[in-house]
């Protein structure tokens, strides 16, 4: 009987293998080998020299066996495998041990991988949803690599983090009206706990007396300045500018916001300053007056920024280090 189709051939080969199971090697032959051996055994095909190996398992004498195949080994095709029935058959506990639900279990970073995969799937699923320009999207502070490592306790790789966050940001740009809840849920995990961008600056109001209160800080000083329309009078903690600041430079710093915008004779300042030294207090006042001035005239912001009255100077006293006399100073070199 000749196998009429490829499937038939395969099953035929299987039959051979089963029959030879007792003597055959433990290694299962590959499909290619099976096919070659089949070619060799079927008369329709020319003998292939490389096929000997497969048959060598049949007997100890390969030279003789090639010429004279044993007559009693008739090749019979096995019944075709019904895949549908195989699939339908309930698979009972074939394994003795519990398998984890996710293959990530076996990686170094299982939780991260789970989230990564989820994001990946979502990004594939919703790749065609319309996106908005990134400038229009809500600003979100994403977890940094450091944050992620801290929260997960897993050694997340920087490259994987970068890939993941790229997808996260892409998903974030999906149009808010069309964004599926699954995406929102998945992205929530990657957001930082504290969202600084949600802190909307409170606009400074001008009260019924025409005063605007600005608060400024520098070093250890805090200044509260009430700025009101007037003629250039300045009172700081109940003293005039000249009484409060001995240095002319400090006086100029304190009213620098008004000076830089040519408003020195248009407003009066009544200020309360605490903490720090004279320089810190003067520069805290600079910021406080600038903020209050912006409440009166918001259009002055660029001019004030150019004058350096907007940005808070974050410098503080540098801490002392052990082994040093001060923050940086090394002890005196002593011979021996």
């Amino acid at each position: 009987m000749m196998p009429s189709s490829r499937r038939g051939l395969t099953s035929a080969v299987r039959g051979v293998c089963k029959a030879l199971d007792g003597t055959a090697s433990r290694r299962p032959p590959s499909l290619e080998q099976q096919l070659r051996s089949l070619r060799l055994s079927s008369p329709a095909l020319a003998p292939v020299p490389g096929s000997r190996r497969c048959l060598s398992t049949e007997s100890s004498d390969p030279a003789g066996s090639r010429q004279q195949p044993p007559p009693q080994l008739a090749i019979t095709a096995a019944a075709p495998v019904n895949l549908a029935s195989l699939a339908s058959r309930p698979r009972l506990a074939e394994h003795a041990r519990v398998l984890p639900a996710s293959a990530s279990y076996f990686s170094r970073t299982p939780v991260f991988n789970e989230h990564f995969l989820e994001v990946y799937k979502l990004s594939r699923t919703y790749a065609n949803l319309p996106v908005i320009p990134s400038a229009d999207a809500e600003r979100v502070a994403w977890k940094t690599l450091f944050d992620l490592r801290q929260t997960l306790g897993e050694p997340v790789k920087a490259t994987e983090y970068a890939q993941c966050l790229k997808l996260v940001k892409r998903l974030h740009l999906i149009h808010p009206d069309l964004k599926p809840p699954a995406v929102t849920d998945a992205l929530r995990y990657f957001k930082r706990d504290v969202q600084g961008f949600l802190n909307a600056p409170k606009p400074i109001a001008i009260d019924k007396f025409g005063r605007a209160l600005g608060v400024g800080r520098r070093k250890a000083s805090v200044a509260h300045a009430w700025v009101v329309e007037g003629d250039g009078q300045v009172l700081i903690n109940g003293k005039t500018l000249a009484d409060y600041f001995g240095r002319v430079h400090d006086r100029e710093s304190a009213v620098w916001a008004l000076h830089a915008t040519d408003r020195i004779d248009k407003y009066n300042v009544w200020a309360r300053v605490t903490g720090g030294g004279t320089t810190g207090q003067a520069e805290a006042l600079k910021l406080a007056v600038a903020k209050a001035l912006m409440a009166h005239e918001p259009a002055l912001k660029p001019a004030l920024r150019r004058a350096g009255c907007i940005t808070r100077d974050p410098r503080r006293v540098e801490r002392k280090k052990h082994g040093r006399v001060k923050a940086r100073k090394m002890p005196t070199w002593v011979k021996r």
Binding site: Q233, V234, T240, L241, E252
Partner: protein, 491 residues
């Protein structure tokens, strides 16, 4: 700008160098290197022939070039003694010279630009309300008088301008008008000038003195009260005084000299009413007061002469001049002085005869025959605390304000405080108080314009500049305006 060519010989500077240079030095003295290197390094714009100066005898580079590598200077010395440098700084200043330099008063600066519109003060100018907000110059005679009575102070900025000039403030006119009224009514204006730091208190005294000098008053000015009470001048008990008073003869002599120099004209026109036999040279009645002052030559007789002069000025006679008695640094006399009695008891400042003369006049116990003014100015430099004086001034000020607005509360004594001085209270019970603050914008502008015209302020004086300086000076405080605009240029 230097011309590219030498103006004398019309030769280009480089050519002139070559022409005027001596023949190659190597021909004369092989050790000396050629000068060309040094000469070519001269500034290219200088037209002075470089070789005209004597050739540099030995600079290190030349030596190195001559002898090759110089080992001596490079030798490593581990334990060698350092050569003591005997730097010759010239003659060191004599004792007192440094202080004299520090305390010198410079009243003019020839480098300052002359202000064309500056006019000299005349007699009625300081009392004229039309002059408020004007800068007016002190006439030369008045300058001498003020200098003699030590009205100028070394901290003031007279030395920056070509001519001493003062800004007429509202307070100035107020004060001088009151002085005039008092003199017209033959009364004594008793006033204390007070105010914050550098608000112009001493300058207000100076303006009052200027007004007095211009109007032919007799001015007796005690420039530093601390010289009287900090035990820096000699003192001696006065006979026939109970409780004992103390004279300060050395200071009295100095004061007499100042009075004589500053008021010579007026004193020469005023004559004694009684004869003075107690003086070193006895004077008959009808001799000029200047003759009394002229007798002050020795310390021993100084107090007697001063008393004679004072008594003559106080004598009720028809043509006496009005008197301005002024003192700067009031807090120093309103306390117990640093002097000690023979029993080592502290002496109250009011027991010093000269101080008592002033405080009696300030307290209203003395009537000047032709009226006049007694002015005291507080000081914020090196002044002792005097709680009684501070309280009294605050009370008088509140009482003055009460006349305008009745709701003002007059501060009262702290019942639990012991530091008050009854004698001080008594003196200051009825004085007037003139409080000085900042000037207004108009006056500030006048001053800035004067500074700018003198070339001392190098900005355009517009509203913006005035506002800025006014604010930086804490609301137009004059001394602070000087600091913010004038003294920033001082290098």
């Amino acid at each position: 700008m230097s011309a590219p060519n030498c103006l004398r010989c019309l030769v280009r500077p480089s050519a002139a160098l070559r022409l005027s240079a001596p023949p190659p030095a190597s021909a004369l003295k092989p050790a000396t290197p050629p000068l060309t290197a040094a000469a070519s390094r001269r500034a290219p714009f200088s037209t002075t022939p470089a070789a005209a100066a004597a050739p540099k005898s030995s600079s290190q580079g030349q030596q190195a070039a001559a002898k090759g590598h110089v080992r001596k200077g490079k030798r490593l010395t581990l334990k060698g003694k350092k050569k003591q440098k005997s730097l010759d700084h010239g003659k060191s200043p004599l004792p007192g010279e440094r202080k004299a330099y520090r305390k010198r008063i410079t009243l003019s600066n020839d480098n300052a630009i002359k202000v064309p519109w500056l006019t000299d003060l005349a007699a009625p100018d300081l009392a004229d309300p039309a002059n408020v907000g004007k800068v007016l110059a002190l006439p030369p005679t008045t300058q001498d008088q003020l200098r003699a009575s030590e009205a100028f102070k070394p901290t003031q900025t007279w030395g920056m301008f070509r001519q001493p000039a003062v800004l007429v403030r509202k307070e100035t006119v107020d004060l001088t008008q009151r002085m005039q009224e008092a003199a017209a009514a033959r009364k004594v204006l008793r006033m204390v000038v007070t105010g914050n730091k550098v608000t112009g208190k001493s300058l207000m005294l100076l303006q009052a003195m200027t007004h007095a000098f211009l109007n032919e008053w007799v001015v007796i000015h005690l420039p530093e009260a601390q010289e009287l009470t900090t035990a820096v001048t000699e003192y001696a008990p006065l006979a026939d005084t109970s409780p004992v008073q103390y004279s300060q003869p050395v200071y009295a002599l100095k004061l007499l000299h100042a009075i004589r120099k500053a008021n010579a004209d007026v004193l020469a026109k005023t004559f004694t009413v009684s004869e003075h036999s107690e003086l070193p040279q006895s004077l008959p009645a009808g001799s000029p007061l200047l003759a009394i002052a002229n007798q002050a030559k020795e310390v021993d007789s100084a107090w007697v002469i001063f008393q004679a002069l004072w008594n003559e000025l106080m004598a009720p006679a028809p043509n006496r001049p009005p008197i301005l008695l002024s003192l700067d640094g009031l807090a120093h006399v309103m306390r117990v002085s640093d002097y000690r009695s023979p029993a080592f008891e502290p002496i109250h400042a009011f027991d010093l005869a000269l101080v008592r003369l002033f405080t009696d006049a300030l307290g209203g116990a003395v009537k000047f025959p032709a009226g006049g003014a007694v002015l005291g100015a507080t000081s914020r430099n090196n002044s002792p605390r005097s709680p009684s004086m501070e309280l009294a001034l605050a009370q008088r000020e509140a009482e003055q304000q009460q006349q305008q607005q009745p709701g003002v509360e007059v501060p009262q004594k702290d019942p639990f405080f012991r530091g008050y001085d009854e004698r001080v209270d008594a003196v200051l019970r009825s004085v007037q108080v003139l409080r000085l603050g900042g000037v207004d914008r108009r006056e500030a502008r006048a001053l800035l314009e004067y500074w700018a015209a003198s070339g001392m302020l190098r900005t355009v004086v517009d509203e913006k500049a005035v506002a800025e300086k006014w604010t930086l000076a804490g609301g137009g405080v004059l001394g602070e305006m000087e600091r913010a605009s004038l003294l920033t240029m001082r290098v």
